[in-house]
C-alpha cells in the first residue's frame, strides 16, 4: 500500500515537475492565439477598421461566449507583475 502511494506520489511529482509548466504554457499560447484570431476577425467591434470578413458570421456563435472576455483582455492595462510572468 505504502509502495503504491509512493509510486503515485512520485508519478504526480514528476508529471508536475516535467509537464505542468509545459501544459500551462501551451494553454496560454492557445489563449493568445485565440485572442489574436478574434482580434483580426471581430476587431471592428473595437473600432479597428477591418472590413468584416465573410466568415465572421459563421464564427460568431463559436466565439459569442468569449466576446466579453476577449474585449476585457485586449483592452485591459497589464500590470507589471503580469508582464514579469510573461
Amino acid at each position: 500500500m505504502a509502495m503504491k502511494n509512493l509510486k503515485r506520489g512520485l508519478r504526480d511529482f514528476f508529471f508536475g515537475f516535467l509537464y505542468l509548466p509545459h501544459i500551462k504554457n501551451l494553454l496560454e499560447q492557445y489563449n493568445n492565439e485565440d485572442l489574436a484570431l478574434m482580434t483580426i476577425t471581430l476587431g471592428d467591434m473595437l473600432g479597428i477598421p477591418l472590413m468584416p470578413p465573410i466568415y465572421k458570421l459563421r464564427l460568431l456563435p463559436l466565439w459569442y461566449p468569449r466576446i466579453e472576455y476577449w474585449k476585457k483582455h485586449v483592452l485591459m492595462e497589464k500590470g507589471a507583475l503580469e508582464k514579469l510572468k510573461e
Partner: protein, 345 residues
C-alpha cells in the same frame, strides 16, 4: 415615323442649363458604349474650350484602345489630337498594396498594445486579404480624383465599369459612411472601456487622446462626408445611362435608374447608342432592313419607358469608333441631337 419625343431635353440643352455640374458618370450594361459616351461627353466639353479630364474606373481599361494612343500607367496624360482633354486609366494595384500594409501595421500595433504575445504574421496576412479592398480602393481613387483634380478641371467624366460595379461603387459611399459611423462608435466604446480597465487613469486618458486608429477613422470619415456632399449634389454630379436599342440593356437601365435613386445620385439622362440609320438600312441588305425593323420596336420601348430622359442618340457608324477623329464625330452627334429629331435617325 421618327419616334419624336414631345417632352424631353437634348444633351446640349441639359448641360447648358445645368452649367454647374462638374462630375459626369456613365453607366450601363456591359458593351453598350459607356466608354464611347464618356469620351463623347468629355470631347464635347473640351471642344467648348473647357479643361476636361476623362477617368476610367473600369478594372479593365479601354481608353487607350478608344483614343488609339498610350494612356496607360495610372497617371494623367494629355489626349493628343483633342485640345484641353486629359485622360487617366486609374490603377488601383498600388493602392491595394498600401491598404494591406497600413492595415497590417495597425494590427501589429494593436496586438502589441493589447499585449497579446503571438507571432502575428499569419494572422495579419489573413486579415489584410479581403476581396473588398479592390472595391474600396477604386472608390478611394474616385474620391481622390474628385477632391484633388476637381479644382484643376472644369469637367471630369468618369467611365464606370458595368452596372453592378458602378452601383457598388456609388453605394459604397453610403455603406462606407454607415460602416465608419459604427466603427467610430465602437472605437469610442473600446477606448472608454480601456480607461475603465486601467489603473493609471491619467495615462490611459492621454493615450486614448492620441489613438492612431481613431485618427484614421476620423480622417476617413471626413473624406466620405466630402465625397457624399459632391456625389449627392445634383448641381455638381450627374449620372448618364447608356443603352443600345436592345431588350437587355434597356431593362438594365430601367433597374439601374431605380437603384441609383436609392443612393441620392442625380440622373442626367439616357444616351441611346448604336442606332442604325434609315438611309444606311435602306441601302443595305435584307438583313439590315430586318435589323432596322427590329430596332424600331426597341426604340418604341425606349420612348415609352425612358422617353423624357433621353438626351442623345448616337448612330451606328460604318466604322468602329477608334481614334480621335471618330470620338470627335461622336461628340458632334451627341451635341447635335434634339428631341424633335426623334429616336429613329
Amino acid at each position: 415615323m421618327t419616334l419624336q419625343l414631345e417632352k424631353g431635353m437634348s444633351f446640349k440643352d441639359y448641360v447648358e442649363t445645368h452649367e454647374s455640374i462638374k462630375f459626369f458618370f456613365t453607366g450601363g450594361k456591359g458593351g453598350v458604349g459607356k466608354t464611347i459616351a464618356a469620351a463623347g461627353i468629355a470631347t464635347y466639353f473640351a471642344n467648348q474650350g473647357m479643361k476636361v479630364l476623362i477617368a476610367s474606373l473600369n478594372p479593365v481599361h479601354s481608353l487607350t484602345s478608344l483614343f488609339n494612343q498610350d494612356l496607360t500607367g495610372g497617371v494623367i496624360k494629355p489626349v493628343h489630337g483633342i485640345d484641353n482633354l486629359d485622360a487617366i486609366e486609374v490603377d488601383i494595384r498600388d493602392r491595394v498594396e498600401a491598404y494591406k500594409k497600413q492595415l497590417a501595421d495597425r494590427l501589429r500595433w494593436f496586438l502589441k498594445w493589447a499585449d497579446i504575445p503571438v507571432k502575428a504574421t499569419e494572422f495579419i496576412d489573413i486579415a489584410a486579404t479581403n476581396p473588398a479592398f479592390e472595391e474600396s480602393a477604386m472608390f478611394d481613387a474616385t474620391i481622390d480624383i474628385m477632391l484633388e483634380q476637381g479644382a484643376k478641371y472644369d469637367k471630369i467624366v468618369f467611365d464606370c465599369a458595368a452596372v453592378a460595379n458602378a452601383v457598388r461603387l456609388l453605394g459604397l459611399n453610403k455603406i462606407y459612411g454607415l460602416w465608419l459611423q459604427r466603427m467610430i462608435k465602437s472605437r469610442q466604446e473600446a477606448l472608454s472601456l480601456r480607461v475603465k480597465l486601467s489603473f493609471r487613469k491619467e495615462k490611459a486618458m492621454e493615450e486614448i487622446k492620441k489613438d492612431p486608429m481613431m485618427a484614421d477613422l476620423l480622417n476617413l470619415n471626413e473624406r466620405i462626408k466630402k465625397a457624399s456632399s459632391i456625389l449627392g449634389d445634383p448641381t455638381k454630379t450627374a449620372f448618364f445611362f447608356v443603352t443600345l436599342p436592345l431588350a437587355l440593356p434597356i431593362s438594365v437601365v430601367q433597374r439601374f435608374i431605380e437603384m441609383v435613386k436609392g443612393f441620392n445620385i442625380a440622373i442626367g439622362g439616357v444616351i441611346v447608342n448604336g442606332v442604325l440609320r434609315r438611309d444606311v438600312a435602306e441601302k443595305g441588305t435584307e438583313y439590315m432592313r430586318n435589323k432596322y425593323e427590329e430596332q424600331k420596336h426597341y426604340l418604341e420601348i425606349i420612348k415609352e419607358r425612358l422617353g423624357p430622359l433621353v438626351r442623345a442618340v448616337i448612330p451606328l457608324y460604318e466604322r468602329e469608333i477608334i481614334g480621335v477623329d471618330m470620338v470627335k464625330q461622336v461628340a458632334d452627334d451627341l451635341a447635335s441631337w434634339t428631341p424633335e429629331k426623334g429616336l429613329l435617325l
